[in-house]
């Protein structure tokens, strides 16, 4: 598996970076946040991204996709992470669309993926139920009724759920919370009676939703994949999401580090630049090393996904745990190195730290992934 970018990938990365820096510098996120934007991202920008093919990098050509790899998608996430771009790539393309891509039938794929690829539909995944990511702890129930299913339960932290036109809802058709068997995925339209969506505003200026399902009736055709075998579809989708989230966190942490480093080189105290103090130098060097290790595991995971390697689950947990920890360290240190100005809202470094912190809790904290990694490795 390649850990070095090909020429094409380098070119793509540069293109993405140029686009992002021009169209969506960090001030854009601030604008969306301060204006309490109803969508939470720039719809026009999203159209442009989709036109560039970003919404369909990993989708097959048959459905309007570019049929490229997760390495390429990861580069897009990394560069967007550097600029804190608000976009629906994760919720729509990787999570919601990912479930259809992995488990959907031809009709579903044609309908959903083609629309997503064109930037014409927003999706999300309604999975989590408590305060923590725990994909098997689903209590939401779907019971057979009127030739279809009736779903009841409530979901939290549904990313971009407030604007999603369709939700992939994970519900239990058999078994108990904690069982791997018995999960089923349903494609539910936002307008369906009994579905109540409450927007939640996060500290990183991004959005999620709480979703309440009180007897939401769906047809048999809304099922993605096999009844009761939802985990088969869900798990690879989550692993890919972990890979691209890790790429985004790497971008965010790298940029925060670069900015702190620049500050160390320019800010003067006691007559010298503060980067000449060995106490800070050693901490900067330590962060650099952690970031180098982070880069390696992100590349390794993305390229393992593309190669269809068997240890993708282990790698995905490894990448997420590592990036959780590195992003925390870098965010914390960067704010401290900026000193007083670092804790003001005016200075952008705090926005990086906040975004990284929300991503730490997204799809599993380090403790969750260490436990999962251990289980996968047989200990």
């Amino acid at each position: 598996m390649a850990l070095v970018l090909t020429e094409e990938q380098e070119l793509l990365k540069q293109t993405v970076r140029d686009f992002v820096q021009e169209k969506s510098p960090v001030t854009e996120l601030r604008r969306l946040r301060d204006s309490s934007d109803a969508t939470g991202f720039d719809g026009a920008l999203w159209k442009e991204m989709a036109e560039l093919g970003w919404a369909s990098v990993v989708y097959p050509e048959d459905f309007g996709g570019m049929d490229m790899g997760y390495m390429e998608l990861g580069l897009i996430f990394e560069e967007c992470g550097r600029s804190l771009v608000a976009h629906p790539l994760l919720a729509t393309v990787v999570l919601g669309g990912g479930c259809v891509l992995e488990g959907g039938n031809e009709t579903q794929k044609k309908d959903v993926l083609t629309a997503v690829a064109g930037g014409e539909r927003l999706l999300s995944l309604a999975l989590q139920e408590g305060a923590h990511h725990a994909p098997l702890a689903v209590a939401t129930r779907a019971e057979e009724a009127d030739g279809g299913y009736r779903i009841t339960g409530s979901k939290t932290f549904v990313l971009d759920g407030h604007v999603a036109e369709q939700l992939v809802v994970v519900a239990r058709t058999s078994g108990d919370p904690g069982d791997r068997d018995g999960l089923t995925l349903f494609l539910v339209d936002a307008g369906t009676p009994g579905l109540e969506v409450t927007r939640t505003r996060n500290m990183d200026g991004r959005n999620a939703a709480n979703v309440n399902l009180s007897g939401v009736q769906v047809e048999r055709s809304a099922v993605i994949g096999e009844i009761g075998a939802g985990a088969e579809v869900l798990e690879p989708v989550l692993d890919r999401a972990l890979a691209v989230i890790s790429a985004e966190m790497f971008g965010t942490a790298s940029e925060a580090f670069d900015r702190a480093l620049e500050y160390l080189k320019t800010r003067e105290q006691f007559g010298v630049v503060i980067g000449s103090f060995q106490g800070l130098k050693h901490r900067a060097a330590d962060m650099f090393v952690e970031l180098e290790l982070s880069r390696s595991i992100v590349f390794d995971t993305l390229s393992a996904v593309d190669a269809g390697a068997g240890d993708v689950p282990s790698l995905a947990s490894c990448a997420k745990a590592r990036l959780n920890d590195t992003a925390f360290q870098v965010g914390n240190e960067a704010v401290q190195m900026f000193g007083g100005i670092g804790v003001t809202d005016e200075e952008e470094i705090g926005l990086f730290m906040k975004r990284a912190r929300v991503l730490q809790s997204t799809l599993g904290n380090s403790s969750y992934h260490r436990d999962r990694f251990a289980a996968l490795q047989g200990f």
Partner: protein, 397 residues
């Protein structure tokens, strides 16, 4: 009956008679704190009565000399008064930087005339004081401050900019460090001025923090005229006064490590049981339990250390730069505590405002973000490490 016992009786009856019932209820929000001052913001009748009576008696500043309006009590009497106040659930009549910071400095360094003028105002809460120390360009190198005060004979002409001025938008007067001689080593050209925030040329702009709005402000001075008699101490020797005040500030911020700064009324164990599940009365997740336990133990060790420092002080053992230890460990522990809480509360601690999060969750997110400042304000952790290395351990520069 001993004199002290007699004083206790007297204090008890006086509080009983003079403290309005509303002033014996728990303070529920920061808005209910009485900071004194001309604007009298949010001052209810009961607050005014309580402030006036306490101020008149000098018990807002119990140990300050009677000649300047203070209570003139001995330390032992002041302790008794404090006990009786607590017993009666009486609120502090006045909270102010005048009492905690400026007043002691004036008593030590000001002229007789200045003391006569300013101290009674502080005792009675007539003036809301703010502190003008930090500057945007100075940071940890506080003494490199650039705000200039030119000697114009009968007044100083002040130009420059301060940052982190708490409550500058509400304060009446400022005590302020200014540079009166730029041609000498930085510590030797600083003076200590007092002036009215209503003076022409003073403007104030509140600072938004990563945790949201804050009492901090940026304060700008453009050709502000300060009468010569408002200089405290000798010209160019203001650094001596500043150092004394800084030590005090450090201990205050370090104290937040014990939870004084946090908004949560529940401890980490209870929160962990709620958010990570409970099993036979224990936190269900053993890794989270391990981390909570470590934090609780650290807090015990820290608490024992503050008690030891107090006992040592009582035993006459000189404190040394102990304030740096408390500032350093207290604030770093506070940061770790909030980070652990955030991590335990998962995605419920990612909210900023609006629906989907309860008050405890939103409060904790903000408290966590606010805690980032603890290891910066009042001297960064790095500065505290330098102080300990140099003054305690005797390591060379």
């Amino acid at each position: 009956m001993s004199d002290l016992e007699a004083f206790r009786q007297e204090a008890r009856s006086w509080i009983e008679e003079n403290c309005p019932p509303a002033m014996r209820e728990r303070v529920e929000s920061p808005d209910e704190i009485e900071w004194g001052g001309r604007a009298a913001q949010g001052r209810t009748d009961d607050r005014k009565v309580w402030l006036d009576r306490m101020g008149e008696k000098g018990w807002t500043c119990p140990t300050w000399p009677k000649e300047y309006g203070g209570g003139g009590l001995s330390k032992a009497e002041a302790k008794v008064l404090q006990e009786e106040m607590r017993e009666a659930h009486a609120r502090p009549a006045l909270t102010s930087f005048g009492i905690s910071m400026l007043g002691p400095a004036l008593l030590e360094y000001a002229s007789e005339e200045q003391k006569k003028h300013f101290i009674p105002q502080i005792v009675k809460g007539e003036i809301f004081w703010c502190q003008g120390y930090s500057e945007p360009g100075a940071g940890s190198d506080l003494a490199s401050l650039q705000t200039r005060a030119e000697d114009k004979g009968d007044h100083y002409l002040v130009n420059g900019q301060k940052i982190w001025t708490s409550y500058a938008d509400k304060a009446d007067w400022i005590f302020c460090l200014v540079r009166t001689n730029p041609d000498v080593p930085k510590h030797d050209g600083i003076s200590f001025l007092l002036f009215d925030m209503a003076s022409p040329g003073v403007t104030v702009s509140p600072i938004q923090l990563i945790s949201g709005s804050s009492p901090f402000c940026q304060t700008f001075f453009q050709d502000v005229e300060v009468p010569r008699e408002q200089l405290v101490g000798e010209v160019n020797s203001g650094w001596t006064i500043a150092k004394r005040l800084l030590q005090h500030e450090r201990s205050m911020i370090g104290g937040m490590g014990l939870g004084l700064g946090g908004g949560l009324s529940r401890g980490a164990p209870e929160i962990a049981k709620d958010y990570c599940g409970e099993n036979d009365g224990r936190i269900a997740d053993p890794v989270a339990r391990d981390r909570v336990s470590q934090l609780q133990m650290d807090a015990r060790c820290y608490g024992a250390t503050t008690r030891r420092a107090a006992e040592e002080a009582k035993a006459g053992i000189p404190p040394g730069p102990a304030s740096s230890i408390f500032k350093l460990y207290g604030t770093e522990m506070n940061k770790r505590r909030h980070e652990l809480l955030i991590s335990i509360m998962g995605t419920q601690a990612t909210g900023w405002d609006g629906e989907g999060f309860n008050a405890e969750e939103l409060g904790e997110t903000r408290d966590w973000l606010r805690s980032f400042g603890n290891s910066i304000e009042g001297g960064t952790s790095e500065v505290q490490l330098n102080i300990i290395a140099k003054r305690v351990l005797g390591l060379p520069d």
